[in-house]
Each structure stands twice: as C-alpha cells, then as structure tokens.
Symmetry: C2
Subunit: 417 residues, 2 copies
C-alpha cells in the first residue's frame, strides 16, 4: 500500500504557454467549462461572464438546498476569473461587447439558440472582432435530426455509443461512470482553439468552431468502430473482459479482503508467451508450466474459466497493492482497481503535483486533480475557482481601462455586480 | 429512425492550422497515436518513424494470424506519413537525428526506458534541437511507485479510478468500454503540445512534456473527485443511474422491440418541474399530474421504482427512435442508446462529414469517425493511414533534401526501407 503519511511539496510552476491569450467565457456545467479551464491551466486570461443573480448553474447543483457542494464548481473552474454582468441590460451587453473586441477567444455552451437570442451570435461577434476564435459546444450537431435537443453528459453518451459497449454481456447497456461526454468534448474543442490560434498568429483570421457532444464521443469510440469495421457487427460489451480477446488471463481478479473495489486487472499478452509462465510462478503454480491445457494464448482463452480460477486462488490471498507489486515486478501488465478515496489518500499524487490543494477564500481547502501533463518536470499551479463577480473590478480596469468611478456607476445601474 | 438511404457529400475542408508544424512520431498503439493524429487532423506534417520489419505493432494486433484488421491502425493513424527506418543501424539513427534537427515536435509512447536505450533521450535530442517540443506518454508517472510498470488502457483505467465508478451498485467494478486511458491521454498531451508551440513562436524555446495515463484519467474523473469532496467517501457506481440523484425519472428505459440496446436515457431535471408533467402527457398518464406521490423531485426519488414503471410501460411500446422524438420535442433531455452499427448506418453523420470513408490503396474503403470539430461550418478531410514506409522517399527528399541516389544507397544498406 502506498505511503500516505507524508506529502512533500512538488516543484510547481505557472505555465505561461497561453499568457497572451484573452478568453471571454460564457460556459456552464462541464463541457464548456472544461474547455476554458484547459486554456486557463496553460496560462490564458479566462474571464467567466456570469449573471449577477446566480452565476453558472454549476455553482449550485441543488437549487434551494444548502450550498454544500462547491467542489463541482471548483474542479471545472480552477484558475479562472469571474465578472458578473447583466446581459439583459443595454450597458451590460455593451460592456461584454467591449471585452469581446479585445479578446482572442470566446467560448459558449448554452442551450441551442440561447447565445443568439442574447445578441451575441457569431455574425454579430465577428463584426465586432473579425479575428476572434468563436467556439460553440452543443449536444447534437447542426444538421443532426436532434440539433434542437437539450443534452447532458449521459444523453450524449447514450446517443454517442458508450453505453452500448459498457456493462455485462448479458446485461443492459451501462453508463461509464465518467463524464466523457463533457470533459472529452471540452478537450477536442480546447485543442482546436489553440490550433486555430497558432495559425492566427500568421493570418490574423478568426474562425467559427462548433462541436457536438454526440460527435465528440465518436472520437473516443474509435477502437469500437474499428471492431465494427472488422466484424461487420455492433461492438459489444463484455463486463471487464475485452470482447473477442486473443489472450487469457485478462480481466479483473478478486483480492483480499474482498471489498467492493478489491480487484486487480491483469493483462497477459498474446505476443509474449513468457507472461503466462512468469504469472504461474508468482501464483505458486510452477507445476502448470508447460501444461498443455494452458500452453498457448488460444488454449488459455478456450479454458478461460479454469485459468481465471488458478489466478484467483492466489489473488484472493493478497491485497490488491501486494498483488500489483508482485505481478508488476515480473513485467506483467497489472493494475489495482482504485477508488477516489484511495487515489486521494495516495500521497505520491501530491508529491508529483498531479493533485494539489485548492486554497479558497470562502470554502474549505480541497485536494483535486490538476492538469496532468508536466512541463520540464513540473506541474502547473492550481489557483482557486473564482467567487461570483470576484474580478468584476479588475477585469473592467485591466481589460477595458475603466476607472473606479465609472465602475461604481455601472454597479449602481445594475449592469455589473 | 434516421434516414439511411442517401448520403450527400459534406462540404469538406483541409484544416491548415498546423501546416507549419513538423512532427517526428515514434508512437504506437493508441495513446501516442491519438496525440499525433490530432496534430495531423489540424494539418501538421506528421511522419511516423517505424521499424522496417513490422512497423507499429498496432498494424497487426494478432501476430501470426491473417491480417484482417487494418481498421484499428486506420482509426489512430489517419492523415499521417510513414518512414521505415532501422534505428539499430548507425545510418538509420543518424537520419532520424537529422529529421529531429528540422522538426518542431517529437512524440513517443514506448515502454519506460526504451527511447533512452535507442539513444534518443530528451537530453540527447535537445542537444540536437533545443527548440523541440519533446513529448512522452507512459502508463505511470515519474515518481509513482509504479513508474517502471507497463500499462495498457485497461490497466491505467483500473488504476485511475474509472472501473470503481462503473457498473451495478451491487456488482463488481466494470471496464468502461471506451479506451479513455489511451485517447483521453493523447488529447491532454496534444493540447499541451500546441499550447507550447504557441509560446515557442515568441521564445523559440523547447520543452520536455510528460504525461502518465493514470494521471490523465484523473482529469476525466473530476466529477467523481468532486463527489468525494462533498461526501468524504469514495464515488460509487449505480448502473445507469446517477448515484445520489436529486431527481427522477432519470435513467435508462426499455423500448420495443426489446433488443440488447433498445433503451432511451431520460433525464428530467430537479430544477424544471415542468419536465415531469410534460412527460406524463407524452406517456399518456395525464391523470397523474398533481398526484402527491410524485409531486416534487424528492417525492419521485422516494418512489423511483413506481415512477420508472409508469414511464417504462409506455417506452416499451415505442422504438427508441420514436421515444426519443416524442419526448425530445417536449424539451425533455432524452437520448437513445445507439450502438456502433446504428451510428454507422445513420447517414446524417456522413452528411455532416463527422464520419467519412477512408479510401486506402491497399485495404477496403472504411467509414470512420473523423475530427469532430467543424471550422467555419466544415469538417476536415480524412486521408488514408500510411502503408509501412510509404513515404520513405518523400520524407528523405522533402525533409532532408536527399537525392534519389543517396536514398537508394540507404535502402541497399538496410538503413531505411
């Protein structure tokens, strides 16, 4: 089991890859916020434009109940600023247009048609700033029969195929427990935005970028589409096995003390015959080396239930950490099933800066995953998610050079807060 | 059911956002190839450096068996070039170093230590080209107790937490059927690379980028970590339901004719009381509007089994497409569970260019998902995955200005093929 007692501070940096990039951020919930948070991790100046009343609905997932969940907002809005603007007021809308005039990127993921009704369609915005990268994230694509439909992550995942390949072979389709419809979509858009910025340095040209969550999921389903290419059939589901596998043992094996996540995944390779022999040694069954029932990967697939039992008889006597260590050091691909608490308690993530504690002026300190890529050996620093309107004054001063008096006037008029 | 009879050609473009970017690509299988394919979709000049014998092992997942699966390689290597170089030969290694000298990016995802043993560690490469963005993808991070371990997608997913949140509440942890450990990791790296390139246009400075698949998965698990922040407990699994939901009905509902993927996902919102009343109308149970047993979201969660039965009694009489249409047009979030064949057969993806047919000189035409983001209304064009060494001559001429005679000599010496 990993050491959970000490957490030396990682050598953290502030990534400045996008420090010259200004982003006007109209995103909410997860898909859009993921996109702009990625830009913020890279050092972009990301300003969330929020309504002064409640802000991003992701700030409070349970309206009317005590606000015990700032965590959801934290994980999608680290390192951003917030300005509270009433877009329904003429002055508020004019201010936002001024921000757009000086911005490099605008991102939104409102319901279909909403940004246009606010008076900030691409046609309007490109008149204000022809060089802007204008990015829209929706549930379904323009031209899809469902283009006007609302979508949340699980809707897009169902319609994008992930449910159909997840779950037991004889059971119902199952939701993958991660919001790939949201974060996965945010990532393809963030990548396209920065690619567009790369070209814009030369041409100065703006672009209109659009992605649908259903479409983005197909990108994460490419292995499954390859399977369909080969078989001519829908890609199936097989619990934790790989459907149509070429090798055994491959799958989950139960460990001590038998808790709901006490398993290791072992994946012996069809291409490396030594994996099986080495595994037999680890599990104390050298007597089966050379046994014809289990000689080739094909033999082992044919006798998979027996093979799995041979391995399980040993894994049941080991903690998942011990099993991982003993199998892994023999060069056999293996991993323990870890849950979010176990990952939280593994101090090596903090030592490496992959998890950091967000220190927030209002909420409890919160340890969370940060940007996973290290640059020159260092992770990027987490900064707190913004309070609603926390940076209204700063942004009006720094982006629009408004003086304190003007800002006070705007607040009195209810244009900003 | 969507129209499957006609497929007008989408208005396809060639994205040129990264046309000035040269990538030396040492990637294989999925995580690395996803990263460089993303760069290729954006127009980068991506050259896969492959060993002349077999190339990327992703070209043939079943060694020794007939090569009936080019699809796996296609989906991860569209729009790239291939040069076949013997890195064990002095001449071959020197050639690759010459390519690196003129490149902007180098990416590799070999097993831990392998690229260093080949003589192409970051220390060596930055001597050759101090401005290069040098990107490495591994299973586990430097400083992790498992840093030397091999990892495939399912290993990284188990150790990154996705299994622990997928599956039935009372069942074992379950593999999400998508290779998020691979494609998800490739995406965070591709995004960081283009961000680094953005800065480099100013500074000329190179960087060493590193990501681990286990770490990258935490990024896709942020919602689950937020849950743990709130509850202090591991995020759980709940089949296709959302654990600790605030609203019902929310989940999968069975449709006619009862096939293994004949379901719709319906997600009524706690914040919009009209969803339930409208749904009652759709399912022909206006008589229950105002019924106290189901009045508030909390009431419906308390009586979820009854609520689900009320809705299921109707959905069982509908195809998933009909259910989607009838529920969706009332503004209620809903999506059918679609499998890869159904998605393949839905011609609207082709009409929009989200799926395109790869026409390959050697293999059958293959319809596959392409880059999901549209630019100015247009998708980017798919080009065939390269045959092994297909571009050896072109690359040696275009990148290194070698003449035909020199290339012939190199081939004779076995340095390239």
């Amino acid at each position: 089991m990993p050491d959970t007692t000490t957490a030396p501070v990682a050598n953290i940096a502030d990534f400045k890859f996008l420090e010259d990039v200004k982003v006007v951020d109209f995103t909410q919930f997860e898909a859009g916020t993921t996109c702009t948070e990625a830009l913020a991790w890279m050092g972009a100046d990301v300003v969330k434009v929020e309504n002064p009343k409640l802000g991003d609905p992701g700030r409070r997932l349970r309206p009317g109940q005590p606000d015990d969940d700032p965590y959801y907002f934290h994980v999608f809005n680290a390192n951003k600023k917030s300005i509270a603007v009433n877009l329904k007021s003429e002055q508020g809308l004019a201010l936002v247009k001024d921000m757009i005039r000086g911005a490099d990127v605008m991102v939104e993921n409102f319901a279909p048609g909403a940004i246009e009704r606010l008076g900030l369609s691409y046609e309007v915005v490109k008149e204000i700033n022809p060089g802007i990268i204008y990015a829209q994230i929706k549930g379904f694509g323009e031209g899809s029969p469902y283009e006007k439909n609302l979508a949340f992550d699980m809707i897009a995942q169902a319609a994008g195929g992930t449910f159909s390949v997840t779950g037991e072979a004889d059971g119902p389709p199952t939701r993958p427990g991660i919001s790939i419809g949201d974060t996965g979509t945010g990532m393809v858009m963030a990548f396209t935005i920065v690619s567009a910025l790369n070209k814009r340095k030369e041409t100065g040209e703006g672009h209109h970028l659009q992605v649908a969550m259903q479409d983005a999921i197909l990108h994460y389903m490419r292995t499954n589409f390859a399977t369909t290419g080969r078989t001519g059939k829908p890609a199936g589901r097989a619990g934790s096995k790989i459907a149509d596998t070429q090798s055994a043992p491959k799958g989950l094996f139960p460990c001590a003390p038998g808790g709901s996540n006490d398993y290791v995944y072992i994946s012996t390779s069809a291409a490396n015959p030594e994996h099986w022999n080495r595994l037999l040694k680890v599990v104390g069954r050298e007597d089966l080396i050379g046994d014809e029932r289990y000689l080739t990967p094909r033999d082992r697939v044919a006798n998979e239930a027996e093979v799995d039992e041979i391995v399980s008889n040993w894994t049941r006597t080991q903690s998942k950490y011990d099993a991982m260590e003993k199998i892994g050091q023999e060069g056999i691909p293996v991993g323990p099933v870890l849950d979010t608490m176990e990952l939280n308690n593994d101090v090596t993530f903090e030592q490496r800066g992959i998890m950091q504690t967000m220190v927030h002026p209002q909420h409890e300190p919160f340890k969370m995953p940060t940007w996973p890529v290290r640059v020159d050996g260092r992770p990027t620093r987490v900064e707190p998610s913004p309070m609603l309107g926390q940076h209204t004054d700063d942004v009006l001063r720094d982006w629009l050079t408004l003086d304190g008096e003007t800002v006070a006037e705007l607040k009195k008029d209810g244009a900003v807060k």
